[in-house]
Amino acid sequence: MRKEDTVKLISAEGFEFVVDKEAAMVSQTIHNMLTSPGSFAERQHGEVTFPEISTTILEKICQYFYWHLQFASSIDLNSENLAVVSGKETEFPIEPELTLELMMAANYLHT
C-alpha cells in the first residue's frame, strides 16, 4: 500500500489508525480536508488529529468506513446515521453504550 493512498487518523489519546484514503473519504469532512485547494497541514502530512474523538469511537468509525465501502452501495445512502442497517449479513454492529458518542462524531464528520 502506497503512502499517498493512505491517511493516518489520530485519536484524542494519540492512537494512530492508518486507513485507505478511499475509505476515509466516506466522511465528507475528511474528504474536504484532503481535497481542498491550497494544501492544509493535514493534506501535506497525510495525518489528521481528532482531539475530541476517543480511541474507541475512532476505531468504530474506521470499521464503519470499510463496512460502508463494502455494503453501502446497496443501501440507501441519504442517511447520516451510523445506525442505518438492513438485513442480517450486512448489519453493522453497534454497542449501545457507544451510540451517543458515535452519533456526535458522525455529525462532526458528516458521514
Partner: protein, 732 residues
C-alpha cells in the same frame, strides 16, 4: 431511530459543555479570521483543517453562527477591496491578467473557506436563509471588484478592443479571454449579458456594417460571399473558443443581418457576378455558399428562388423561341435536357436538394416548354431519333435513363394529346419500316406513358404492337398455305387495325404486275381466314428490297420505298421515261412522286437514276434514265426517301386541326361526366372543373369549352336555368 435521536438530544442538553468563557466566541473567531487572512495570503499550508473546522463547528453549535457569518462577510469584503485596488492599479495589458489571477485566487480561497465553514453551510445557513458561502463570495466579488467604477468600463473596453484586434487579424491571448468571460458567466448569466454580451453585439453590428459596405463596393459577389462565410465561421470559432455558447446564435444573427440580409438583393443582382452569372458559369461552390448563407436569413432562399425561376424562364424562352434551334428538333430537345440536367445538378450540389427549389425548377420548365406549341412534336421526334439510332450500343440502363429524362419533359407538357398524336405517327413509321432498335425500349416507354397518363392514353399504341405481332403470324400462315410462292418475289404484309394507327388518306398507286398478283393472293387468303373484314393497301408506307444489275454488270441490292420500287420496276422495260410517263404509269400523288424521284436521281452516291436536264429540282418536263455508271462500295444500298423530318407548315396545321377535333369529344365527355354528378353548376365552376379533369392530357381552351357547352345544350344534354342564365342543369 427517532426515539434514539430524542434520547440523544436529552442527554446532549445534560452533557452540554456550558460556555463559561464569555470571550470564547471572540477568541474562536480570531482564530478563524486569522486563518482567512492566511488563506488569502497563500499561507494555508501551516493551518490545520481539523482545527479550523472544529472551531467553526463549535461556534455554530454554540449559537454563534450569526457572529461567524457577519465576520466572514466583513473579512471577505476587506480583502476584496484590496484586490479591487490592486486590479485598478494594473497597467495596460496586465490589467486582464491581474484580474484573472486575482479571480483565480479568490476562487481558490473561497473554496477553502467554504470547506472550513462547511458545517455552517450545512446547518446554520439553511435555517436562517442566508446566502451560502460560495454564492456569497461570488456576489461580493461582483459588487466590489467588477462593479467598481474604475474596473467596470475598463474591463468592457479591454475585452471589446481585444475582439476587435482579433477581427482585424491580430493574435490575442484567447486563454485569458476565455477565463474572463467564464468569470462573467460564473457570476450569473445576467452579469455576462449586461457587462459584455450586449455591448459586444452592438459593437459587432457596427463593425460588420462598415465592413460589409466596404466589401460590397469593391468585391464581386463570389468574393463577398467567401468573405461573409469566413467572417461567420470566425465568429462561431470565437464563440467556441472564449465566449458563452449561448452567444453563438446572437452573434451569428448579427453577422447574418449586417453582411447578408442588408445586402441580399444587391448581391443577387450584382452585375457580372450575381446569381444569374453563377448559374451560367456553373459555379457550384459559390452557389452552395450563397444557399448556405442565405438560408440563415428570412426570405433569403425565396429571393434566390425568384431569381432562379426568372432566369430559367428567360433562358428557356430564348431557347424555345430561337429560330436557329428550331431547325433541329433533336438538338432542341437535347438542349432542353441539358438545361434540366444543369439545374438538377445545381440543386443537387449547391442547393442541398431543396424541395422548394425543385418545384420552382419544374414550374419554370413547364412554363417555357409550353411557350412553344411545337414542343410536343419535338419531344416525340427526339424519342423517335433515339429509338431509331441513338440507342444502339447503349446499355439498357442508359436507355432507361434517357427515356426517364424524356418522360420528365413530357410531364411538363400541357398538350399531352398533341404529343400522343405525333408519337403515334412516329411510332407507326418506326414499326412499319422496321427501324426500331429495341423492342424493350419501345415497350418500356409505353409503360412509362401508361403510368403517367393511364390506360386510355396508350391503348392504341399497344394495339399497334399487337398488330405487328399478329401480322407476323398471318404471314407465316400465308406462306404455309402457298408453298409455290417461295421462289417468286416475297411479300410481307402488315395488317393494321384502323383506328389504332394514324392512317392517312390512302391513295393506292399502281403496283407492278408481279406485285399486284401477289397482293391479290394475299387478299383472298386473308379474307378467307377472317370474314367480314376489309383490306385496303397503304402503299405510301411500305418498303421493298430490289436486286438490280447495272451497266458494268455490278449487282446491288437496293432498299427502297414502295413508291420508289414502282418507279424502278418501270425501267425493267424502258431505258428512258419522262416524268409524265412515270406519273401516268404509277399514279403516285405528285408531291410523293417528286420526292421519290429526287431521292433516286439527285442524292450523291445513291443516284441509281439519271435525270435530264441535271437541275436540282424535279420538273414536270424532266426525263429519267437508268444510271449505268452507278457504283457503290456496298452491296446493299439503302435509298432513303427525302423525308420531311419535321412537319411542314400545312402539315402542322393539319395535325393541329386533327388534335382540336379529337379534343372536342373529350371535352364533351368531361362536361357530361361532371354535370351528371353535380346535376347543376354555374358556368365558371364548370369551366374550372373541366380544365382540371383534362389537365393530364391538355389545357382546355375556355372558349372551346364554352362552344362544347353550347353544342350540348343544343343536343339537349344540358339546359340553362330560366332565372340564372349562368347556371346549367343536367338533363337525364
Amino acid at each position: 431511530m427517532s426515539n434514539q435521536r430524542k434520547r440523544n438530544f436529552q442527554i446532549e442538553a445534560f452533557k452540554h459543555r456550558v460556555v463559561i468563557d464569555p470571550k470564547y466566541a471572540d477568541k474562536t473567531w480570531k482564530i478563524l479570521e486569522h486563518a482567512i487572512h492566511e488563506i488569502y495570503n497563500h499561507n494555508a499550508s501551516g493551518l490545520s483543517f481539523e482545527e479550523l473546522y472544529r472551531n467553526a463547528y463549535n461556534m455554530v453549535l454554540h449559537k454563534f453562527g450569526e457572529k461567524l457569518y457577519s465576520g466572514l462577510v466583513a473579512t471577505m469584503t476587506g480583502h476584496l477591496k484590496e484586490i479591487a485596488k490592486s486590479v485598478e492599479a494594473a497597467q495596460g495589458g496586465s490589467f486582464l491578467e491581474e484580474l484573472n489571477r486575482k479571480w483565480n485566487d479568490h476562487n481558490k480561497a473561497l473554496q477553502m473557506i467554504r470547506d472550513i465553514l462547511m458545517y455552517m453551510d450545512r446547518t446554520y445557513i439553511p435555517s436562517t436563509q442566508k446566502t451560502p458561502v460560495h454564492e456569497l463570495g461570488l456576489n461580493l466579488w461582483r459588487e466590489i471588484v467588477i462593479y467598481s467604477n474604475q474596473i467596470r468600463n475598463r474591463l468592457l473596453n479591454t475585452l471589446l478592443e481585444l475582439v476587435h484586434s482579433e477581427r482585424t487579424g491580430d493574435v490575442i491571448d484567447r486563454g485569458i479571454m476565455r477565463n474572463i468571460t467564464k468569470m462573467l458567466v460564473d457570476l450569473g448569466p445576467s452579469v455576462y449579458v449586461h457587462e459584455f454580451e450586449l455591448h459586444f453585439l452592438h459593437v459587432s453590428a457596427e463593425f460588420y456594417r462598415v465592413e460589409s459596405q466596404k466589401f460590397i463596393e469593391c468585391c464581386d459577389c463570389g468574393d463577398y460571399l467567401k468573405k461573409a462565410e469566413r467572417r461567420l465561421n470566425e465568429e462561431i470559432d470565437r464563440v467556441s473558443h472564449y465566449l458563452d455558447p449561448r452567444t453563438e446564435k446572437k452573434i451569428t444573427n448579427v453577422v447574418e443581418k449586417e453582411m447578408i440580409e442588408n445586402h441580399m438583393l444587391r448581391l443577387i443582382h450584382m452585375e457580372n457576378s450575381g446569381l444569374v452569372h453563377m448559374f451560367s458559369d456553373d459555379k457550384y461552390d459559390d452557389l452552395g455558399r450563397m444557399y448556405n448563407l442565405f438560408r440563415r436569413v428570412p426570405d433569403g432562399l425565396s429571393k434566390i428562388r425568384e431569381v432562379m425561376t426568372e432566369h430559367i424562364k428567360e433562358t428557356g424562352k430564348q431557347l424555345v423561341n430561337d429560330p436557329e434551334r428550331l431547325k433541329d428538333p433533336v438538338e432542341f430537345v437535347q438542349r432542353l435536357l441539358d438545361e434540366k440536367d444543369k439545374y438538377d445538378k445545381i440543386i443537387n450540389f449547391a442547393f442541398n436538394n431543396d424541395k422548394s427549389f425543385q418545384n420552382a425548377l419544374n414550374s419554370s420548365f413547364e412554363y417555357f416548354i409550353n411557350l412553344n406549341p411545337r414542343s410536343p412534336e419535338f419531344i416525340s421526334l427526339f424519342v423517335d431519333d433515339k429509338l431509331r439510332k441513338g440507342l444502339k450500343g447503349v446499355s439498357e440502363d442508359d436507355v432507361e435513363v434517357t427515356l426517364d429524362k424524356v418522360m420528365m419533359l413530357f410531364r411538363y407538357l400541357q398538350e399531352k394529346d398533341v404529343f400522343e398524336k405525333y408519337y403515334k405517327q412516329h411510332l407507326a413509321k418506326r414499326l412499319l419500316s422496321g427501324k426500331t432498335v429495341s423492342d424493350d425500349a419501345e415497350r418500356s416507354l409505353i409503360v412509362k406513358l401508361k403510368t403517367e397518363c393511364g390506360y386510355q392514353f396508350t391503348s392504341k399504341l399497344e394495339g399497334m404492337f399487337t398488330d405487328m405481332k399478329t401480322s407476323q403470324d398471318t404471314m407465316q400462315g400465308f406462306y404455309a398455305s402457298h408453298p409455290e410462292l417461295v421462289d417468286g418475289p416475297t411479300l410481307t404484309v402488315q395488317v393494321l387495325t384502323t383506328g389504332s394507327w394514324p392512317t392517312q388518306s390512302s391513295v393506292t398507286c399502281n403496283l407492278p404486275a408481279e406485285m399486284s398478283a401477289l397482293c391479290e393472293k394475299f387478299r383472298s387468303y386473308y379474307l378467307g381466314t377472317h370474314t367480314g373484314r376489309r383490306l385496303s393497301w397503304q402503299t405510301n408506307m411500305g418498303t421493298a428490297d430490289l436486286k438490280a444489275t447495272f451497266g458494268k454488270g455490278q449487282k446491288h441490292e437496293l432498299n427502297v420505298s414502295t413508291y420508289q420500287m414502282c418507279v424502278l420496276m418501270l425501267f425493267n422495260n424502258a431505258d428512258r421515261l419522262s416524268y409524265k410517263e412515270i406519273e401516268q404509269a404509277t399514279e403516285i400523288p405528285a408531291s410523293d412522286l417528286k420526292r421519290c424521284l429526287q431521292s433516286l436521281a439527285l442524292v450523291k452516291g445513291r443516284n441509281v437514276l439519271r435525270k435530264e436536264p441535271m437541275s436540282k429540282d424535279v420538273g414536270e418536263d424532266d426525263a429519267f434514265f437508268v444510271n449505268d455508271k452507278f457504283s457503290s462500295k456496298l452491296y446493299k444500298v439503302k435509298i432513303g426517301t427525302v423525308v420531311a423530318q419535321k412537319e411542314s407548315e400545312p402539315e402542322k396545321q393539319e395535325t393541329r386541326q386533327r388534335v382540336e377535333e379529337d379534343r372536342k369529344p373529350q371535352i364533351e365527355a368531361a362536361i357530361v361526366r361532371i354535370m351528371k354528378s353535380r346535376k347543376q353548376l354555374d358556368h365558371n365552376n364548370l369551366i374550372a372543373e373541366v380544365t382540371k379533369q383534362l389537365q393530364s392530357r391538355f389545357l382546355a381552351n375556355p372558349t372551346e369549352v364554352k362552344k362544347r357547352i353550347e353544342s350540348l345544350i343544343e343536343r339537349d344534354f344540358l339546359e340553362r336555368d330560366e332565372n340564372d342564365r349562368k347556371l346549367y342543369r343536367y338533363l337525364a
